[in-house]
Every structure is written in structure tokens, then in C-alpha cells.
């Protein structure tokens, strides 16, 4: 019991504190990768008019893997006139661009099977679930192929920020916490200015401008105070809400004091929409993320051979040959040859495939392990988050192992709905992965009920995907360390004889579909240049 007590008295950890801690224990590379995941990187350099010139007559390309990188590669190569053949391990296109719906079966490594019983129209994206407005590559293919998009709500002012030790475990509305933190900090800074403590740093005109700006930034009153009243309530909301009739003069809730906000440990968790990759607007394909994969696969046509497990890749000065096994007829070695090869298999898989490549590329492939992540989709018979709590889309964050509750950005006011009931990463992802799918769902329900007590009464069905148990990827995304980036990244992108790699692992946007798309465009460009030389 001692261990449990000490765990409970540990202060809740914000994501920023996590990053600082991660930097200390895992080095700056881990922070870079985490920041990339959290979205603090450059806008995508994708061009809307991307296209190759004309392919050399009769040139053939073998594309390994029909995820987004493989599909985009095949699509662009075919447009240029290349003859393309794809091999895909799974029975469907898309790789991690994937949507689970009622009727789907999913069997993970270790043999546990899940049968999806979501209601018609309901779905869950176990992989990517949102597209930033500046991911021009992904958005470009959506536009070109007619994939309908709708807004993905990243920041919902009415969703919760939850800490087990904060405010007695009572979830706080993002809106109130954000308004109070911004208001209290603004008041503090205004005080410092008024006490002439910034006279050296700022001229008197700038001080006056700053006080004026702080009043609107922090919802301060004329004296520079953040106080219960109309001005603050316009930010943090009214309790109760103003309406018509006799309730038209509501009392104003008392804002949280600065100490309470700081002591809660939640102030650092208000940055849900601050990172570049998370700034509104974001998008999602209507009906599920796999709409992108299906549109690309349709455009590529019948050149995808499914359920093909690649076992060996050989090449010489004349061409490339891949050995593979048809999963329907295991044990019979098959092979396919072409002039060139784009290999998009995840590095976690490729590190076990025999390949004739340079030692430097082999070292690069072997240098990267994969990030652990787990997602759980939960269907409820009633949209209590909308009906009871006024939460339409968006994300609640928590320091529980589920880390995230994501509310659907679509089908508002429908009867049922599917929540993202857990998005665990780091240690929690390993801990979730080691459980059976049924246990993962049970734990997501048990923990999530601390935020939404309606869970047990309304729950209908859950699906749990632990990416390290995924048979095709053996992990979530390439977890580059800074040292590995410096030593191996350039090599990983280089054409090696007649072969070049592509995929999110071969990009500076790991985990994002945009990384897969950009790396595919990079790979076909390199290949085309060499083939046309």
C-alpha cells in the first residue's frame, strides 16, 4: 500500500513537464520527436501542382506496402506512365490510415480477435484522426480525389481538463481554467507595471499600452483586477447562464485564484490547441479516415496484391526482385521483379527483411524503434457528453492513463456515439498493450468514469488497438532519437541502387500522414530522376 500512497501523492504531471522530464531522461531527440508529434514544426512544403514528367517507356516499379506512402507513390508513378505493382501485407489498403466500423474483424499479434459491433454509421479511427490545415500534401490529394472533409474540433472550451489530485479530482471546464489563468496572470503583470517594477524594461508609453492590452487579454476591470463580475463572466461563463425572464440577472461565479490554478498543476495543460499542428482549423474525412486510403486505392486501380508478406528484397544492376509469401497459401515462395522499387514497409518490419542494400542503409533501418501508443474506441447508447454536459466535439485531457477523451466532431445529436476513450502513450501505452483487448476496454471505462460517471450506464461496445500488437506495423510510428537522426536520416532518404524508402519514418513529420505523403513525393522524384537519366 505504501507504493500506492506515494503514487497518489505525486503531483500531476503536465504535458510540458512531461516533455522537460523526457528531455532529461531520453535526450533532446525524444523531445524533438514528441514536439513533432505535439506539433511544433514547419508548415508542410507540399506543392499543389506536384507531378513527375513522362516515365521512360516500359519502366516498371515495384511498390512495397499500400499505406499512404505506397499509395501516393503508386498514384504519382502511374500518372507519369510507369507500370506499377504493389504488394501489401494486409487485406485492405491504407496501413495506419484505418477506420473500424461495425462488422470489421481485427486480430492482433498474439491472436486476440475483436469483432466490431459499432452501430451503422459509427466508426473509430485507431490511427491518424485529424489533419491540420497546413498539411497541404494530404489535403491536396483529398481535394484532387474528391474526399469530403469536415471540421475536426481540437479545442472545445467546454471540454474538461482533469487531474487526479486537482480540485478533488473534479474535472474543470477548459474555458473556466483558461480564463482564470489568463486573467490572474494578467492582473499580476498589471500590478507589477503599476508598482513601477518594469520601469527599466519598458518606457512609460509602452507601459500604458501594456496595461490597456492586459485589460482585454485578461478580462480585467478598469482598475486592472480580475474579479467576479460581468467582464470576467464574459470569458469564463456565467453561473447560471443568462437567459430570458426572471433569471436574466445571474449571479457571477467566483473565479479561481492564481494559487488555486497553479497548485492544481493544470495550468500547463491548457495548450491543447497552441502547437502549430493543433491550431484550428483541423479536418477529418467524412465517414472515417480510411476514405483517403480508399480514394487513393481506387485511383491506383487493380495493381495491389493483398495479403502478401515480403520476405526478401534483392537487386542488381538490371532490376529489383522481391520474394514474398501469399498468406492464403503460406510456405510457397513467390517473387515479383521490376526495374525499380519504392519500399514503404515500416522500419520495424524492414529490420527483419533480408535486403541487398548498402551497409549504411541497413544501419539506418536498424537504428529506429517504434513509439508505443494505444487507442480505445467506446460506443455509448446515448450522447451524454452532448446532452448532459454540452460538449460537442473536442478533447478532454487527463493525467489518468487514458490521457485523452476525444468527442466525435460529427453526427451531433445522433442517438449513439463513439468516443476516443483512451489515447495512451509512453509507459501507459506499454501497460495497456500488455492487457487483452477486453481488459483495455474495461480499464478505459473504469478510468474514464472518473470524468464521465455516465460511462457504466451508457456503455455498449469497445474496440482497443495497441499499435505494438498490430501485425503489419509492430509499433505506432518511427521514434527517432536525435543521435539517430544525425547519424542515419540522410542515408535513409538516399536511393540505394534501384531502391528507395518512403513512409512517415522517412520524413521530418513522423506519425503524421503528411510525413508519409511528402516522403512518397520525395521518393518518386528521386526515382524518376534516376530512371530518366
Amino acid at each position: 500500500m505504501v507504493g500506492r500512497m506515494s503514487r497518489q501523492t505525486r503531483p500531476s504531471t503536465s504535458r510540458r513537464a512531461w516533455l522537460q522530464q523526457l528531455g532529461r531522461v531520453a535526450g533532446s531527440g525524444a523531445v524533438y520527436a514528441a514536439l513533432t508529434q505535439l506539433g511544433l514544426v514547419q508548415a508542410s512544403p507540399a506543392r499543389a501542382d506536384f507531378g513527375l514528367g513522362r516515365a521512360p517507356k516500359g519502366a516498371r516499379v515495384l511498390v512495397l506496402g499500400a499505406g499512404l506512402a505506397g499509395l501516393v507513390s503508386a498514384y504519382e508513378l502511374q500518372r507519369a506512365g510507369y507500370q506499377v505493382q504493389l504488394l501489401e501485407y494486409q487485406a485492405r489498403p491504407g496501413g495506419r490510415c484505418w477506420t473500424l466500423r461495425g462488422g470489421d474483424h481485427y486480430t492482433e499479434l498474439g491472436g486476440a480477435s475483436q469483432h466490431c459491433e459499432f452501430a451503422p454509421g459509427e466508426y473509430f479511427n485507431p490511427g491518424p484522426w485529424r489533419i491540420p490545415y497546413h498539411h497541404h500534401g494530404v489535403l491536396g490529394y483529398c481535394k484532387r480525389l474528391g474526399v469530403a472533409l469536415q471540421p475536426f474540433i481540437q479545442v472545445n472550451h467546454n471540454a474538461y481538463v482533469h487531474g487526479q489530485q486537482a480540485f478533488g479530482g473534479k474535472p474543470q471546464r477548459w474555458r473556466e481554467l483558461q480564463a482564470d489563468f489568463q486573467g490572474q496572470v494578467s492582473e499580476l503583470l498589471a500590478k507589477v507595471v503599476q508598482q513601477h517594477q518594469l520601469d527599466e524594461a519598458l518606457g512609460s508609453e509602452d507601459q500604458a499600452r501594456l496595461l490597456e492590452a492586459l485589460r482585454s487579454h485578461g478580462a480585467l476591470d478598469a482598475q486592472g483586477r480580475y474579479r467576479a463580475g460581468e467582464i470576467a463572466a464574459e470569458r469564463r461563463g456565467f453561473g447560471p447562464q443568462p437567459g430570458g425572464g426572471v433569471s436574466a440577472a445571474p449571479p457571477h461565479d467566483q473565479p479561481l485564484g492564481l494559487h488555486d490554478v497553479l497548485a492544481s498543476g493544470l495550468a500547463g495543460r491548457l495548450d491543447l490547441g497552441s502547437g502549430f499542428e493543433y491550431q484550428m482549423p483541423l479536418f477529418q474525412p467524412v465517414g472515417g479516415m480510411d476514405a483517403i486510403a480508399r480514394a487513393l486505392a481506387k485511383a491506383v486501380g487493380p495493381r495491389i496484391r493483398y495479403r502478401a508478406r515480403v520476405t526478401e528484397i534483392q537487386q542488381d544492376e538490371r532490376g529489383v526482385t522481391a520474394q514474398y509469401e501469399d498468406l492464403a497459401r503460406p510456405g510457397t515462395p513467390l517473387s515479383v521483379s521490376a526495374d525499380w522499387c519504392i519500399c514503404t514497409l515500416p522500419l520495424s518490419v524492414l529490420s527483419q527483411v533480408e535486403m541487398r542494400i548498402s551497409p549504411a542503409l541497413r544501419a539506418a533501418i536498424d537504428a529506429v524503434s517504434y513509439f508505443a501508443a494505444v487507442k480505445v474506441g467506446l460506443q455509448f447508447g446515448r450522447r451524454f457528453w452532448e446532452e448532459d454536459e454540452g460538449i460537442y466535439g473536442g478533447i478532454s485531457s487527463t493525467d489518468l492513463a487514458i490521457r485523452t477523451i476525444g468527442y466525435p466532431s460529427h453526427h451531433f445529436h445522433a442517438r449513439k456515439g463513439v468516443l476516443l476513450g483512451a489515447y495512451a502513450f509512453g509507459a501507459n501505452a506499454y501497460e495497456f498493450s500488455a492487457l487483452t483487448p477486453a481488459e483495455r476496454v474495461r480499464e478505459a471505462l473504469r478510468l474514464g468514469a472518473q470524468i464521465h460517471p455516465q460511462y457504466p450506464a451508457e456503455f455498449e461496445h469497445g474496440m482497443a488497438v495497441a499499435w505494438h500488437r498490430h501485425p503489419a506495423t509492430l509499433g505506432c510510428f518511427a521514434w527517432w532519437t536525435q543521435a539517430a537522426r544525425e547519424r542515419h536520416y540522410a542515408q535513409l532518404l538516399r536511393m540505394d541502387g534501384r531502391l528507395i524508402l518512403a513512409g512517415e519514418h522517412a520524413s521530418l513529420l513522423p506519425a503524421w500522414q503528411e510525413g508519409a505523403v511528402l516522403s512518397a513525393q520525395h521518393a518518386v522524384t528521386q526515382l524518376h530522376a534516376k530512371a530518366s537519366a
Binding site: 505504501v2 535526450g27 518490419v349 529490420s351 527483419q352 501497460e431 498493450s433
Partner: protein
């Protein structure tokens, strides 16, 4: 079995449900590092995800090697190196486990899956620290 006994067992089962096999060990850690301390709890939290609870590994597009009957476990340094530094698809756990935890989980792997002579070997913190230092030394000399 009497009805009384059955309901007693049922009750026992219900009470046992939320509790864990390893009583004082958390099922979930609070941060990036792992909070479990004992070998069995660490195995269940980390290794079982890929190598499976019974150590038989798994095979899909590529494989997680079986630990059960794995000849490489005959060399303790190999095991410590894999846990600390990783290799290929195996992630490094050196930054999320302290020396005591590394020794505990390595000892658990050896106890359950190692060759007969290795099964009772206790791994000291000094051994783990020495392997950490050796890996750091290698990484420094490899820096570009």
C-alpha cells in the same frame, strides 16, 4: 459444490477483479518512467506487450522473438544491453527504468525463460550500472 460455497467463490472473484495479481504494484504508471518495482510486475507492464505474457513471442509482417527457449538468454550482458539500449524494433528502456528495475525485469526473464543454470541468477545494480556506462561510452565514440 454447495450454493453457499459457490456464492462465496463468486464474491471472492468479484473482489479479486479490480485488484491485481501483484498487489502493491500499480497497473499504470504516472509519467514517462515505469513505477512498478518487482520483476513479475515489470514483465507484465513492459515485456508482455510484444513478447506476450507467456514469452512465446508473435509473428506478423515481422516477428517478436520468443523469450521462452531463447538461446541468447544464456548471456546476461546481451539481455541487459537489449533492455537498456534496444535494437532494431526493440525500444530502449534505459531512460524509463532505474538500475534496480532493469535488474528485476532481467532477473524475471531469466527466471522464467533462461537456461537452467541462469534461472536463479540475481542481477546486481552494479552490473546494470556497468552496462549503462559501457553503452554510453560506445555512443560517445560513435557520435558524428
Amino acid at each position: 459444490m454447495s450454493r453457499h460455497m459457490r456464492s462465496a467463490l463468486l464474491l471472492l472473484g468479484l473482489f479479486a477483479l479490480p485488484a491485481l495479481a501483484m498487489d502493491d504494484e500499480p497497473r499504470f504508471s504516472a509519467g514517462w518512467g515505469f513505477d512498478q518495482r518487482s520483476g513479475p510486475a515489470l514483465y507484465a507492464a513492459i515485456c508482455a506487450g510484444c513478447h506476450m505474457p507467456d514469452g512465446r513471442g508473435a509473428r506478423g509482417a515481422a516477428a517478436y522473438p520468443a523469450l521462452a527457449g531463447n538461446a541468447r538468454l544464456a548471456a546476461t550482458p546481451y539481455l541487459l544491453r537489449m533492455i537498456l539500449k534496444g535494437g532494431k524494433a526493440m525500444p530502449a528502456f534505459g531512460s524509463v527504468l532505474d538500475d534496480g528495475q532493469v535488474g528485476a525485469v532481467a532477473g524475471e526473464v531469466l527466471r522464467r525463460f533462461g537456461p537452467p543454470g541462469q534461472s536463479a541468477v540475481a542481477i546486481t545494480n552494479d552490473e546494470v550500472a556497468a552496462m549503462r556506462a559501457a553503452i554510453q561510452q560506445e555512443q560517445r565514440s560513435q557520435a558524428p
